[in-house]
Symmetry: none
DNA sequence: TATGGCACGGTAATTATATGA
DNA sequence: ATCATATAATTACCGTGCCAT
C-alpha cells in the first residue's frame, strides 16, 4: 500500500558539477558497488573517480575550531575571511559553524546533566542525613519532654500542695513537621547555574 | 580561483528544481524560491555531494516510524522487507534506522534531564524544609534544656538541701550534627531510574 | 583467522522556518 | 521587505568495533 505515485518527480538530484550519483539513479542493482575496500587499512584512496573530500583537513579544522572558540557566532566578514584563508566555500564555513553549534549544544547538555546528577546525588545524601537528624532530635525532644514532665510533677508535689504554675505539659512540643517555610528561594548553599530559562541552585 | 565573492547571494547551491514538497501541509506562506548557484570552480575542491532524493515520503516515514516503534534494532530480514515495501534501497533503511536511534537517544537524554531536574528541585525544597525543621527543633531542644535546668535547680534547692542527683545538665543534648549515618544506600523514598550505568534515586 | 553485517559516534550537507537589520 | 544568519530536523557517509559465520 504505497508508492504508486512514489515521487518519480525528483530523481536526479543535485548533480552539481560532474558527479552523478553512481548508484540510486537507476533502481535495483543497489549500491553494492560502494564500500568495498576494508582491510587494507592504510590509504583509503582507491581509484574511485568522484569521491569528493568528505572531511576537512587537520589544518582547516584547527583554524575553524580556533575561530569557533573565540566566538560561536559567525558574521559575514569572518566567514568570508575564514573561507578565503582555508580555501573553502563560504557556504561550507557557514555549515560547519551551524553543525558545530549543534554539537556544542549537545555536549553542553550532557555536561550539565552530569553536573546536575552529582549535585542531585549529594543533595539526596544530605537530605537523608537531615531526615535522620530530625528523627534523632524528635527522640531527644521527646525525652526532654518526658524529663520536663517528670520534673514538673516533682516540683508541683513538693513545692506547694496548692501549686499554680505548670499546667500539664508544654504547649505542644514536637508537633510534627509543619514549620511553614515552603518558599523555595531560600538560602540553599551557594552555587547556581542556568540552563535554558531555568536556574539550578546547589 | 574564481572567487569574486561580490555576490554571496547564491546560497543553496543545489539549484536544480527543488520540487516542492506540498505534502507537509503547513499553511506557511513560503515566499521562497531559491534559484541558481554558481561555483563552476574547479580549482581545488569540491563540494562533495552525490545525494539522492532527499526527503522520504510521508508514507515511507510513517511505515519506518511504525517499524521503529516496535523494535529499534533492525535485522536483515526486516530491513529487506521494509525496503521492498517502501521501494527504498535497503541501505537507506539501515541509515534511517541508525539516525533514528541517534535521535531517540538525544531525545531520551533531554527527557531524563528534565525528569532529573524536577526531582532535584523538589528534593532541594524538601532539604530546605528539613534544614528549617532542624533549626526549629534545635531551638525547641534548647528551650527544653533550659527548662530542665531550671526545674532541676528548683528541685535541687527545694527538695533536700543536700541533694545528690542531677549533676549540672544533661550529658550533651544538642550536640551538633554528627549523627553518623553517612551510608548513602539508605531508604530514600521510592522511585529510581537508570541512565547509562548510573541509578538515580528519587 | 578472515569476512561480511550492523550498531554507533562523528561529521557534512540539505531543507524548512524564524528572526534581525 | 529583502537578505543573511540561526536553529531544528533530516539524509547520508565514514571509520571503528563487535559479533557471528
Amino acid at each position: 500500500m504505497s508508492h504508486e505515485f512514489s515521487d518519480m518527480s525528483e530523481y536526479y538530484p543535485v548533480g552539481i558539477i560532474t558527479q552523478f550519483a553512481p548508484d540510486q539513479g537507476m533502481v535495483a542493482e543497489k549500491a553494492k558497488t560502494r564500500r568495498r575496500r576494508r582491510k587494507g587499512k592504510g590509504g583509503d584512496n582507491d581509484g574511485d573517480v568522484m569521491m569528493r573530500k568528505r572531511k576537512l583537513s587537520e589544518e582547516q579544522l584547527s583554524m575553524l575550531e580556533l575561530s569557533f572558540g573565540s566566538e560561536h557566532k559567525l558574521e559575514t566578514e569572518r566567514k568570508e575571511k575564514l573561507a578565503a584563508e582555508l580555501g573553502l566555500d563560504p557556504r561550507q564555513v557557514a555549515v560547519w559553524f551551524q553543525n558545530r553549534r549543534a554539537r556544542w549544544k549537545t555536549k553542553k547538555l550532557e555536561e550539565e546533566f552530569s553536573k546536575l546528577r552529582s549535585h542531585h546525588d549529594s543533595t539526596l545524601v544530605e537530605k537523608c542525613r537531615l531526615q535522620t537528624e530530625v528523627l534523632r532530635m524528635k527522640e531527644l525532644l521527646s525525652e526532654a519532654e518526658t524529663e520536663i514532665g517528670r520534673l514538673r510533677e516533682r516540683v508541683r508535689s513538693s513545692d506547694s500542695p496548692a501549686g499554680s504554675s505548670g499546667q500539664s505539659m508544654e504547649q505542644g512540643f514536637v508537633g510534627g513537621g509543619e514549620f511553614g517555610m515552603e518558599g523555595l528561594e531560600s538560602v540553599f548553599c551557594g552555587h547556581a547555574f542556568q540552563w535554558e530559562d531555568h536556574v539550578y541552585y546547589m
